[in-house]
């Protein structure tokens, strides 16, 4: 019983802290926290795919970036307002997710890895190379934040907006993974053949999981476009996918909360390292190696192991 009460207390304290944050730290850190929350959503969306369904994708940034570009293109080239650009971006990332899923789910394992990697790079190459449409490497600055009644130009206002949106999205993701659908995904992760033998159309479940993951990633991407007021091809690059992947692994795949923590850590680390040196990739790669060697089940895994050893001799 104390376990449950303990969890509720932690949650309440956490939410209180999140709500009070802008009054406790400088605006720079409010901005950083906003970024952490956005990437927490991105990481959780990948966890749905990797941690729950067992599909390791190396190209998740494709959906993140497509949504971001959709926002930028609609606002800057089509002069469309926030009410339309935001949902349109979600539609764009969802559709892209469906298209990639149809191709990538033709295969499994290593082929699936390669295909997601390659397809995401193709999308990147379009953004990078089609200068007349996307400005190529220079990116698209000047993305104005939406005005849903209140102005979101201020750091604090945008922080609360992101907190609300991601909070709802997180609750939705939680509902999904706890549902019978979520249970089926975990079954598929453990044994596709067993699920097939039990009467589940495995492909269909994987497809829906993939598309859902793409949608939530797109939501994060759209928020990020507004956050930076800028969109560039790096949103689509494999390095962005790699960051999302390590967020999930570092935090602990298959736990939802783990990847959120992992995201916060990686965002913080990148911010810190980038202020000291240009060698973020070196650090990122090293984290990959270290986590895989010493904490393959992530931080949540370490905590679970520690508690098991302490309380169950």
């Amino acid at each position: 019983m104390t376990g449950r009460i303990g969890s509720i207390v932690v949650c309440v304290v956490f939410v209180a802290l999140m709500l009070a944050l802008p009054h406790m730290v400088r605006p720079y850190y409010v901005g950083l926290a906003t970024k952490m929350i956005i990437f927490a959503l991105f990481a959780m969306s990948l966890d749905l795919l990797l941690g729950y369904t067992g599909l390791a994708s190396l190209g998740h940034a494709a959906f993140f970036g497509v949504a971001a570009y959709a926002v930028a293109l609609l606002i800057l080239r089509a002069g469309v307002g926030g009410w339309i650009a935001f949902p349109a971006a979600l539609v764009a990332s969802t559709v892209t997710g469906a298209l990639v899923a149809v191709l990538a789910l033709r295969a499994r394992g290593s082929y699936f890895l390669m295909i997601t990697f390659a397809l995401a790079q193709v999308v990147w190459s379009v953004a990078f190379g089609w200068r007349s449409f996307t400005n190529g490497d220079d990116g698209m600055p000047g993305v104005a934040r939406p005005n849903f009644g209140w102005s979101l130009e201020g750091t604090d206002a945008f922080y609360y907006f992101v907190l609300a949106v991601v909070g709802c999205a997180a609750l939705l993701l939680l509902a999904i993974v706890k549902s019978p659908f979520g249970r089926a995904l975990r079954g598929i992760r453990e044994s596709e053949t067993r699920m097939q033998a039990l009467g589940y159309d495995v492909w269909r479940y994987q497809f829906v999981a993939f598309v859902l993951a793409a949608s939530f990633a797109g939501l994060a991407g759209a928020l990020y476009a507004y956050f930076n007021r800028f969109v560039g091809p790096e949103y689509l690059h494999v390095i962005q996918s790699a960051e999302a992947l390590i967020m999930v692994i570092l935090g602990g795949a298959g736990t939802l909360v783990g990847p959120a923590i992992g995201a916060a850590l990686i965002v913080f680390l990148e911010d810190y390292v980038s202020s000291l040196t240009q060698h973020w990739l070196l650090v990122l790669g090293s984290i990959y190696v270290l986590v895989t060697l010493f904490a393959p089940r992530g931080l949540v895994g370490l905590i679970v192991d520690y508690r098991q050893r302490r309380f169950e001799p």
Binding site: Q121, V122, H279, G285, S286
Partner: protein, 283 residues
């Protein structure tokens, strides 16, 4: 005649891709490891070759040094890091992915961010007259090298006991040991050979393509497309896939220059719809 030129270009590039893809396929076929560090082996190998060329002016030495250095690097990585995760797919992927980034950063640090090209070795410079045009001898050399390597690998696969094992895709270490083969040595050896092939590709490519930060990712993507089309774990698949992708890449660049990666995407998408395990893939 211009078609012949394009075809030869495509085959030359295809041979480079073959070196990359063969290494990837070889490693996967035996060890079931999808080696994402392969791109680094290509780029760093190329950079090492460049440095050796700059110091000694000898292309042959550059090739040798790059192959040896990268083979050693590969052997060390396999022996001390990858060995622990022989059968787990995700950890292997994460490790080789991590190394890809580490080497990307290190090579940027050591060799800088400007694209560099290696000078063509003098004996291979010049062109062979073909109709109204002259075709670069270097590219013909590439085609020759590719054929020699393909031939050597094929011979090894068909006519040695080791090769038969590789072809069968030995999954059972017990059987291998019963046949008197030192499995751990074999794994390290094959990984080193695969890495060396990638490095050779990097040095050979350097005079016609340039070496630049990000070439590791680009090479890796193309290698992936080749094995997706040709089938992972198949030597024949690597060759056929490489030639196909090379030709498509060349024609793509000639006719749709802004969408080069797109024309590489098309065969991949096509294969996935029609035959997901690749032309010569298993299962």
């Amino acid at each position: 005649m211009i078609w012949v030129i394009h075809v030869l270009n495509g085959i030359a590039i295809g041979m480079l891709l073959f070196l990359l893809a063969a290494g990837l396929s070889l490693i996967f076929g035996l060890m079931k490891i999808l080696n994402l560090t392969h791109g680094s082996f290509y780029l760093v190998g190329g950079y090492i070759g460049l440095t050796v060329m700059q110091r000694t002016g000898s292309f042959a030495l550059a090739l040798l040094a790059a192959a040896a250095a990268i083979a050693l690097l590969g052997a060390v990585i396999e022996r001390f890091v990858l060995r622990r995760f022989h059968l787990d797919e995700l950890p292997q992927t994460l490790l080789t992915f991590g190394f890809l980034f580490i080497f990307a950063d290190l090579s940027l640090w050591i060799w800088g961010g400007d694209p560099v090209m290696v000078r063509q070795p003098r004996i291979l410079a010049g062109s062979l007259p073909m109709g109204d045009y002259g075709y670069p001898i270097y590219r013909l050399f590439l085609i020759a090298v590719g054929l020699v390597v393909a031939g050597a690998l094929w011979w090894f696969q068909e006519h040695t006991r080791l090769g038969t094992m590789l072809r069968a895709g030995v999954d059972d270490a017990e059987i291998a040991r019963a046949l008197g083969i030192d499995v751990s040595l074999l794994f390290t050896l094959i990984f080193a050979v695969g890495a060396a092939l990638a490095a050779l590709g990097g040095v050979l490519a350097a005079p016609i393509l340039s070496l630049y930060p990000g070439a590791d990712f680009d090479a890796l993507i193309l290698a992936f497309v080749v094995v997706i089309v040709g089938g992972l774990g198949s030597l024949k698949g690597a060759l056929v896939g490489a030639l196909l992708v090379g030709l498509l890449d060349d024609f793509g660049k000639a006719f749709f220059p802004q969408f080069a990666l797109f024309t590489v995407f098309v065969p991949m998408a096509f294969i996935l719809v029609v035959r997901p395990t690749g032309l010569f893939g298993r299962r």
